[in-house]
Amino acid sequence: MTAVAKLARSFFAFWWDFIIGDDVTLAVGVAAGLALVAVLHAAALPAWWALPVLWILALIWSLNRASRH
C-alpha cells in the first residue's frame, strides 16, 4: 500500500469512527428518516414524525443486535 493510500485510509477511518462510531445502523436509520422527511415534504404531507420514527426503529434494531452478541 502506498503512503498516499495509507494516509487516505487512516483519514477515512478517523472520520468514520468520529461520525459513525460502533454501529452503522443508527446512521442508516437517520439517513432513511431524513429521506422520508424530504419525500413527505415534497408531497406536501406532514413530515415531522418520520425522522424520530425511523431512528427509534434503528435504535431498537441496534440494541437487539447488541444484546445477542
Partner: protein, 263 residues
C-alpha cells in the same frame, strides 16, 4: 432555543469531552512527568484554535437550511451513539466506561510504552506528547463542533462558547483539586443526559433542515426532549428485562450491576 437551554446543553456536552481529555492528560502527566503532556496540550489547543477560526466563518456563511440538515444529522448520529452505549451499559450488556477505568488503562499503557523513541521536539517523550495532543484535539474538536453548531443554530455562538469555557474551566479546576482520576464525576449519567439532548436537538434541526415543520416550531423541543428521555428509559427497562431473562435461561452468563442511569 432559550438562552439557558442552550447554555445547559452546551455546558453538559462540553463537560463530558473536557472530563475525557483531562483524564488522559492527568494519567500521562502523573506517570511520565508533566513536560511533554503539557506541550502536547498546548499544541492541541493551538490546532483547535486554528480549526475553530477556520470553521466559524465558514459555517456563518452557509444558509440555515442546509446547515441545520447537516449538523442536525451529525448531532443526531452522535447522540444516538451515546444513547445506545448508555442503554447497553445501564442494562448490563456493556462494561461501564468510567474515568477510573480509562485512567488505569492510560497509566498501564504509559508504563508499557517505556521511554523508547525519545525525541527532543516533543519534549523528550513523544508517547506522552502524542497521547495528550490526541486527546485534546479529538475531544476539543467535539467541543468546537458542539459550540459552533449549537451556537449557530440558536444564533448565539458567544453563549455556547461561554458554556464550553465554563465547562472546561470547572473540569480542569476539579482535576487540579482532586489530582487523580475524575471518577467522582458521574460520567455515565452525564453521557445519558447528553445523549438525550444531542438526539433531541439533532432530531429537531435535521428534520427542519430536510423540510419538516414541527408543530409549535421551537416550542416543540419542550415535548421532544422529555419524549426522547422517556423512550430512552423505556429502552433501559426493556433491555434489563431481556438481560434478566437471558441470565435466567443461561445461569453461567455474567451479570454486571446495572449503573449509569440517573435516578
Amino acid at each position: 432555543m432559550t438562552g439557558w437551554v442552550l447554555f445547559l446543553a452546551a455546558f453538559l456536552a462540553c463537560a463530558v469531552e473536557a472530563v475525557e481529555a483531562t483524564t488522559v492528560v492527568l494519567a500521562v502527566g502523573v506517570t511520565r512527568g508533566w513536560g511533554s503532556p503539557l506541550r502536547g496540550l498546548a499544541a492541541g489547543i493551538a490546532v483547535l484554535a486554528a480549526i475553530v477560526a477556520a470553521l466559524g466563518p465558514a459555517i456563518a456563511s452557509i444558509p440555515m437550511g442546509p446547515l441545520r440538515l447537516i449538523v442536525g444529522a451529525l448531532l443526531l448520529v452522535f447522540g444516538l451513539g451515546w444513547l445506545r452505549k448508555a442503554i447497553l451499559r445501564a442494562s448490563g450488556y456493556k462494561a461501564l466506561h468510567d474515568e477510573e477505568l480509562l485512567y488505569a488503562k492510560e497509566v498501564e499503557a504509559a508504563r508499557k510504552a517505556g521511554n523508547a523513541g525519545r525525541r527532543p521536539l516533543m519534549g523528550g517523550d513523544p508517547y506522552a506528547f502524542t497521547l495528550a495532543f490526541k486527546a485534546v484535539v479529538l475531544e476539543g474538536l467535539e467541543v468546537a463542533f458542539i459550540v459552533v453548531t449549537f451556537g449557530a443554530n440558536a444564533r448565539n455562538v458567544p453563549l455556547a462558547a461561554l458554556a464550553a469555557a465554563a465547562a472546561t474551566v470547572i473540569t480542569v479546576a476539579v482535576a487540579l483539586v482532586v489530582k487523580g482520576p475524575l471518577s467522582r464525576v458521574p460520567e455515565n449519567s452525564i453521557k445519558f443526559a447528553v445523549g438525550i439532548l444531542l438526539a433531541s436537538f439533532g432530531t429537531f434541526w435535521a428534520a427542519e433542515g430536510a423540510g419538516a415543520d414541527w408543530p409549535g416550531a421551537d416550542a416543540s423541543l419542550l415535548a421532544i426532549i422529555p419524549a426522547i428521555a422517556i423512550i430512552s428509559f423505556a429502552g433501559v427497562a426493556a433491555m434489563r428485562r431481556k438481560r434478566q431473562w437471558q441470565v435466567t435461561a443461561v445461569p453461567a452468563a455474567p451479570s454486571p450491576t446495572p449503573e449509569g442511569v440517573p435516578s
